[in-house]
Structure formats: C-alpha cells, structure tokens
C-alpha cells in the first residue's frame, strides 16, 4: 500500500544522501587542490632555490648546495630529490638520495613549470617539478659568460599528502554515514509528528456512524494544510446529516401516513365485529374514504417511483397552454369561488409548449389545486406565462407559511402541519410535480416574497423545442 510517510522518508533521505555525497566530494576536491597547490609551492620554492644557486662560470655551470639544505622541519627524515642537467643531458648535480636512479627530465618554462606524480627510488609515491632556466652568467667581478640553458627537477615524497587526503576521505565518509544514521530517526519522528493530525482525523472519521452525523471535525486545531480538507469533510458531513434527516423524516411520515388509515380501518372493523349494529351506510362510507385515501397515496408513491426510474413513456406534442389551464381550473373554480379567491390568468392564447400533455396537465393540476387549497379566504393568486423566460408562474397569498418552509416544499411527504392531521393531503403533490417536471426537461422551483406570496416557477426553457 502507498504510504505518504514512507514515500516522504525515502525522498528526504535520498535527497539528503545525495546532498551529503555532493558536499563531501566538493570538500574533498577543493581540499585536495589546496593541499596539492601548497605541496607544489614547496617544490617550486626548492626548485627556485636551486636555480638561484646555479651559476654560469668559465667551466660551465657551477652548483653548490649546502648539505642540510633539504632537511626542513622534519630534520631530513623525509627524503628530498633533485637533479640538475644541461639541456644537452649532461648532469650538473644530483642529490645523493637518488642513488643510481634518474629523475625524469620533464620540464616546462620557469614561468609555467611542469608538475607530475612519480615513483621515487624505493618505490614510494612522490611528486616532482621540472623547469628550464638560464643560470646566472656573471661572476662576482662582473665578468659575463655566454648563457647556457639548464633543467632542474625537484621531487619530494608525497606520502604525508596522501595520508592527509585519505584521512579526509575517511572523516567525510564516516561523517556522512553518521549524519544519515541520525537523520533517519529524526525524519521519521518528525514525519510521525507532523502526520499525527491526519491520524487523528482518520480515527475521528472512522468513529462516525449514521447516528453521529452531527459530529464535526475541529478546523482551528488542524494544521494549515489540512484545514481545507477538514472544512470540506465538515461540509460533506453536513450534507449527509441533512440527507439522513430527510430520509428519517420521510420514513416517519410514510409510517404515519400508512399506519393511521390502517389503524382506522382495523379499529372500525374490530369495533363492528365486537359490537355489531344494524347496517349503517355511514360506516361503509368511512371504510370507502379510508380506502380511497390510502389508494391515492399509494398511487402517488408509485407514480413517483416510476417517474424517478424514468419508466413513464413520454409522448411530446404541441400543447396550447391557455386551453389546458382552463381545463385544469374548471373543477377548482367552485372551491375558489366558495373561498372568495381572486385568481387572474395572464396567459396569452398563443402560448404553446412542445411536451407531454398528460404529465404537464398533472403538474398544472397539482400547482393550481395547491394554490386554491392553501390561499386563505378572500386571498388572491395569479397564473402568468413569461414568454421570453419560457416560464409559467403560479403565485398566491399564504398565511401559515414562512421562508424557512420553502426548501422543504418539494420533500416527499412534507407537511407544514407536523401533526399530519387529516388525510386529504399527504405532502406528495409538489414532490411528484417536480419529478414530472424533471422528466419533461423542465425545472420547478419555489420562491417566497415578504408579502406572504408563494410563487412556483415552472421553468421550461431547458427543453430546446420550447424557446
């Protein structure tokens, strides 16, 4: 399984290791260059000393070197080598330490002498400098001689230099390994600590069940990087809680809507069986009403299920809005008149929709029936067709609704009356209308004005034919 902590540990350690190798190599390289330069400077000084001691005389180049000249600070423990030639190959002088061996006659001009590594007599590693020069061609009396070119090669044991470089290599390698060894637990510990909030978040998330959806993750105590995730998780929990609450409400409402008429039916029958009375048409009417109420609810639930599963076949046709609204309004007109409602129709006679007439009729019947039912006595309403917006609005005054109710209007089985008294309306009409509107490619929304006017908007422009 992919682990962020493992991946980060590996990346940090690899990066850190490469950095260590690079820095170690750089340190080694620059130290080596510096030490070699210092070593070469020593060789050059000795070569220049020999050059200054060599003189051109009557009998050729004269050279005399004091015995303890090369002894240096170690008292001559480290052997030093030199050899002085004429350019024709004649040896002018050489150190005793060379015994029978010869130093190679590599050289460069005095301004840019040649340096190289070589094996010294005895097989030890050494380093040498070689340069050509013109010995001083004037004696103490001011007599001048013809200048004759000479070559000097000075070599020295470089064992101490190599030992210093070896020690440096060892120190750098050990330091690198030790640093890595310390870095591994430090990085691990640091990542563990910085990932602790993630672990806490995971544990809290795992503890959330359907019964504890009100839980929210603490945002303020989270690291900055986790705050957006935590906020999104809290939003998600909020939506989940709302959805669960809606489902719970739906189940409870459905239980009530089904159980109450069943209880009515059962108790009616049991009472009649226990204490039979003479045939009473009222009892049969009651039984029929209960059956019709349950049938209406079951029919609506089934229609909604079919609608949600898109199992209602659509037959689009050209529908003239005004005649359809008139047809839907006619059975409601009596009730509206009884309540002394004033409804105005602002729908042009040529308003037309290309849609399924049956479903549209069902939507309009529900919207208009609700408007008549819930408009208070002497209230008013309006049915308006907005051609440009492709929208039909049904507005009416209401008295027991407030803005907080609007988001619930389309919930299945929602009723303003929490006691759910009476069985004529079970709260499925608007939910069903919205499902049907969705099937037709329409949108059904609700709005609420401060003036206690509820407006339902049937937006039809989603359907391209209805523009």
């Amino acid at each position: 399984m992919k682990s962020i902590r493992r991946q980060l540990t590996l990346t940090i350690l690899t990066g850190f290791g490469l950095l260590l190798i690079f820095s170690g190599t750089a340190i080694y390289f620059f130290t080596r260059v510096a030490l070699l330069a210092e070593f070469d400077a020593g060789l050059r000084a000795k070569a220049f000393t020999i050059m200054s001691l060599a003189e051109q005389g009557q009998d050729g180049v004269q050279f005399e070197l004091p015995d303890d000249f090369f002894k240096g600070s170690d008292g001559g423990a480290t052997p030093q080598f030199y050899e002085l030639w004429r350019t024709n190959g004649t040896v002018i002088a050489r150190s005793e330490s060379l015994n029978d061996t010869e130093l190679p006659d590599h050289f460069g001009p005095a301004a840019a002498p040649q340096y190289w590594n070589l094996n010294l007599p005895g097989g030890r590693a050494g380093r040498a400098i070689g340069l050509e020069f013109f010995p001083k061609a004037e004696d103490e009396d001011g007599k001048k001689f013809a200048p004759a070119e000479a070559v000097v090669v000075v070599a020295a044991d470089r064992r101490s230099l190599d030992q210093t470089l070896d020690t440096l290599t060892t120190v750098l390698a050990l330091t690198g390994l030790l640093t890595i060894a310390i870095t591994v637990p430090v990085v691990n510990f640091s990542l563990c600590r910085s990932h602790a909030p993630l672990g806490r978040l995971a544990r809290q998330a795992a503890a959330i069940t359907a019964d504890s959806l009100q839980t929210r993750f603490p945002v303020d105590s989270m690291p900055e990087e986790l705050r957006p995730i935590t906020s999104r998780l809290n939003d998600l929990l909020g939506r989940l809680e709302e959805s669960f609450e809606r489902e719970r409400r739906f189940s409870a409402d459905l239980a009530h809507e089904l159980r109450t008429p069943l209880a009515e039916l059962r108790s009616l029958a049991e009472v009649e069986l226990a204490w039979p009375e003479t045939e009473d048409a009222e009892k049969h009417r009651e039984t029929l009403n209960i059956a019709l109420q349950m049938e209406a609810m079951v029919t609506r639930l089934l229609e909604m299920a079919r609608g949600e599963n898109r199992k209602i076949p659509l037959q689009p046709e050209t529908v003239l809005m005004f005649p359809l609204l008139d047809e839907v309004w006619r059975p409601l007109a009596g009730r509206a008149k009884k309540k002394q409602l004033t409804f105005t129709f602002n729908v042009p006679p040529d308003a037309v929709l290309q849609t399924d007439r049956t479903l549209l009729r069902s939507i309009l019947a529900n919207l208009l029936a609700n408007a008549v039912e819930y408009t208070p006595q002497n209230g008013r309403g309006e049915i308006r067709w907005e051609k440009d917006a492709g929208e039909l609005t049904v507005s009416n005054t209401v008295h027991d609704l407030d803005a907080a109710d609007v988001p619930h209007l389309f919930e299945r089985l929602w009723r303003k009356d929490k006691s759910r008294t009476g069985g004529e309306h079970c709260g499925l009409g608007l939910a069903l209308s919205r499902t049907f509107a969705g099937l037709l490619g329409f949108d059904l929304k609700a709005g609420f004005d401060n003036g206690q006017i509820l407006t339902l908007h049937l937006q039809t422009l989603k359907s391209p034919q209805n523009k």
């Binding site: 409870a252 009530h256 159980r259 109450t260 059962r266 009472v271 006691s419």
Partner: protein
C-alpha cells in the same frame, strides 16, 4: 373507570371511543393537544390514551407538562411512530405504556385494563371478597358460585369499588370515574346505580358487601 382519548383522527376517536364505551369506560375525547391538556388537568382520569402527533400541542409536550405538574395519571401513547428511539423517548418522558398503530383493539383494551389495575395497586385479575369473585379480564362476577348478570357500567362500578376495597369511595369519585364529562347526571344517579348494583350483588339472604358510610360514600368489604 374514566378514560381520556386524545387523538386527532376523527375516525379513530369514534371507533376507539365506542369500543371503550362498550367496555364500560367513561370516555372523554379530544382532537388536539391543547384541549387534551386542559381536560387532563381538569379531571381525574384513570387512564389517558395519547397520540403523539397532535395539532396545537404534540403528545410528548403534553405528557411532559402533565408530569411536571405532578399528575401521575397512567398514560398510554398510541402512535404511528414505531422506532425504538420513539418508544424509549416516550417511556422516558413518563408514559406508562406504548402501542403502535395499527393495533388490535383487544390489546388496547387489555393494556388500559392493566394500567387501571396498576393505578390501584392491584396485581391480579381476580378480586375475591368473601364469596364474591370478580374476574377483571373476563368482565364477570360470581357470588356464592352463581354468575351475576351485570351491565358494562354496573361491572365498572363494581370493579372500581373492588379495586378500592376496604376504602371509602365518595360519590364524587364514582361520578368522576364511571361517568364521562358529557353525561347528564341526575343528582341521585350514583345512589341509584349503587342501589341497582346492590340488588344484583346481594341477593336475598346474602351478607351485605357494599356498605354505605353516611355523608362519606360507599365501601366494598367483607361483612364484619
């Protein structure tokens, strides 16, 4: 026994009310929580049957207010809410029983009877006073081995006296527990009912069991 039924479904009010009435209970009904609370506070009921989802004031709030005021009337919640949480909540708020709709009428009546018994600290369905045996479940009474022919109301009166045996029961208490609020009672209705019951419970030659305490009321007890 007097029962208050608070239920917003008119149909259930009618059918359950009728069943209770036929079983000999005095029944008052109410269709909303506010009216139900007023009735429950104003009268001394033996049992209250209470729906939860009620207009104006929900059943649980009604229950809470009654208990807060110290009313210990047994309450049976009769509701469509069937989840464990709903039952637990109802019982924790002070209900004595919980029945989910739809329900069997016999079960409802049996539960009401059990609540009545519990209200009067009676553990059994049989009350025996001398040679009078009263079966509270079968709604029957036998005196000296002979079954008594009692109407539902007569049986309820006998049952009420039996549950409060050896105690003096006042006329007001009998009125309150045997007759419903709408009954148009004549001033001597209780005395008349006791007289009728006496004739049936104490046939000629039988020792008297229903004793009159002048100025106080009546008591059902073994002959001294």
């Amino acid at each position: 026994m007097r029962v208050l039924l608070v239920e917003d479904s008119q149909r259930l009010q009618k059918s359950v009310g009728k069943a209770l009435h036929k079983s000999g209970y005095a029944v008052d009904t109410s269709g909303d929580g506010e009216d139900g609370l007023w009735l429950a506070e104003s009268n001394d009921y033996d049992v209250i049957i209470l729906d939860i989802m009620l207009p104006k004031l929900d059943g649980l709030t009604l229950l809470h207010r009654l208990r807060k005021k110290g009313r210990q009337t047994p309450i049976l919640l009769l509701t469509a809410r069937d989840t464990v949480e709903d039952r637990v909540k109802g019982l924790q708020m002070g209900a004595d029983d919980y029945l989910v709709k739809p329900f069997a009428l016999q079960e409802l009546l049996a539960r009401i009877q059990a609540l009545c018994r519990r209200h009067y600290d009676s553990k059994t369905n049989q009350v025996v006073i001398a040679d009078l045996e009263i079966d509270l479940t079968a709604h029957s009474a036998v005196r000296a081995g002979k079954a008594l022919d009692l109407t539902a109301r007569e049986f309820r009166l006998l049952e009420y006296l039996a549950l409060r045996r050896d105690h003096i029961v006042t006329r007001d208490e009998i009125e309150t527990h045997i007759y419903n609020e709408s009954a148009d009672l004549m001033s001597n209705a209780v005395d008349s009912a006791i007289c009728t019951l006496r004739k049936k419970v104490e046939p000629l030659g039988s020792p008297p069991l229903i004793h009159t305490r002048r100025g106080l009321g009546y008591t059902l007890k073994e002959p001294s």
